[in-house]
């Protein structure tokens, strides 16, 4: 019961607090990191969805396949994909931040005034 509450709460909390980080950000590097904080909520969500009490790693032949259950390997595969996506998006947005720092002379979102209306 407690584990259930903690897992779902932490997952939701991370997504929202990451979004709050973007909303209140004064530095684009902070914005990009806040975005990956929001994404880490999805890792917690997925791993929690695939967890089983007392289950072992999803490797056949280790710990005796068939004798004891394994945790859901699918969510682990999804998280692996998710992590790769996170890394690539972070790299892309940081590359943009470097160029913004050069062209705008600032990385404060409040000072970027090139687009409006």
């Amino acid at each position: 019961m407690t584990l259930t509450v903690v897992a779902w709460t932490v997952a939701g909390w991370l997504v929202l607090v990451g979004a709050l980080g973007i909303v209140r950000s004064r530095d684009l590097v902070h914005t990009v990191v806040a975005l990956s904080v929001a994404q880490s909520g999805t890792y917690v969500l997925l791993i929690a969805a695939g967890f089983q009490r007392g289950a072992t790693v999803p490797i056949l032949g280790a710990g005796g396949a068939g004798s004891s259950p394994v945790v859901d390997p699918l969510v682990q595969a999804m998280v692996l994909t998710d992590i790769v996506v996170s890394a690539t998006v972070t790299a892309l947005l940081l590359a943009l931040t470097i160029q913004i720092a050069k062209r705008h002379g600032t990385v404060d979102p409040d000072e970027l005034r090139a687009l409006r209306g």
Binding site: M1, L3, T4, A7, W8, G12, L16, A19, L20, V23, R24, A48, A49, G50, F51, Q52, R53, A55, V57, P58, I59, L60, G61, A62, A65, P69, V70, V71, D72, P73, L74, Q76, A77, L80, T81, V84, V85, T88, V89, A91, L92, L94, A95, L96, I98, Q99, K102, D110
Partner: protein, 245 residues
């Protein structure tokens, strides 16, 4: 304006929190033993003699997702290379002489290099048996190369010239991944289908295409990480203001 922003966020966050409670209270408790997909995936992995079920999902049952993931990586390398190119008003300067590195750092770098290469290769080649695989091993392999940076060994790096081959190796790896997928189509078994003998569960040469795709992905991911870090380092070290020559 920023007041409005916070108010909007607050209302949205409260609303989403309520929805989140509605959603999660209706779910089975965390730790439940009902996992129908797990049961099916474990059986499927055993049928194809792949000990690591996560690898079986990534490189056999749901290879298409991994192909997409590999393509995202390729796209991000091309994208970062495009975004960090020298602009019209910038030029590529010769790098400053490397700063002196502590002998201890140098020693650590050189000592860790063979170990890291070995671990990386191990993680890739045993990805079908033990935790790991092409993605994880590829990152470890890329780390090995960057130990040379840390050790301050610029002559060694200039000899290796990662910025030359990595941007070519990464599309080559992605392309090979597609080719392996298409090979299944050519032999008539369907796209991304297993077309190699699966072997015996737990043997070094088992799991058919999973091992092959792990190697291809390891090459692609390693080259991708080298290219990405290389672009950021190049931005820092050799690109400076001034008109292109």
């Amino acid at each position: 304006m920023s007041r409005l922003r916070l108010v909007l966020f607050g209302l949205g966050a409260v609303g989403l929190a309520v929805l989140w409670v509605v959603a999660t209270t209706g779910l089975p408790p965390v730790g439940t033993d009902v996992h129908p997909y797990r049961d099916a995936a474990v059986a499927a992995a055993a049928a194809h003699a792949t000990a690591n079920v996560v690898s079986s999902i990534n490189f056999d049952q749901r290879t298409f997702d991994t192909l997409g993931e590999e393509t995202i990586l390729l796209a991000s390398v091309v994208a970062v290379t495009t975004l960090l190119r020298p602009a019209d008003d910038e030029r590529v300067e010769p790098p400053d002489p490397p700063p002196a590195v502590l002998p201890a750092t140098r020693l650590a770098g050189w000592a860790l290099l063979p170990v890291t290469l070995l671990v990386g290769a191990d993680v890739v080649l045993h990805g079908h048996l033990t935790p790991g695989g092409g993605f994880q091993g590829g990152v470890v392999l890329a780390t090995a190369l960057h130990l040379l940076y840390l050790a301050g060994s610029f002559p060694a790096l200039q000899w290796v010239r990662p910025t030359r081959w990595a941007p070519l190796l990464e599309p080559a790896g992605s392309g090979l991944f597609v080719v392996v997928g298409l090979a299944g189509l050519v032999v008539g078994a369907g796209f991304t289908a297993e077309f190699l003998p699966p072997g015996v569960l737990g043997a070094p040469l088992s799991s058919g295409t999973v091992l092959l795709l792990n190697v291809v992905a390891g090459v692609g991911v390693g080259a991708a990480v080298v290219s990405l870090l290389g672009q950021f380092l190049r931005q820092e070290i050799v690109i400076g203001p001034g008109a292109a020559p």
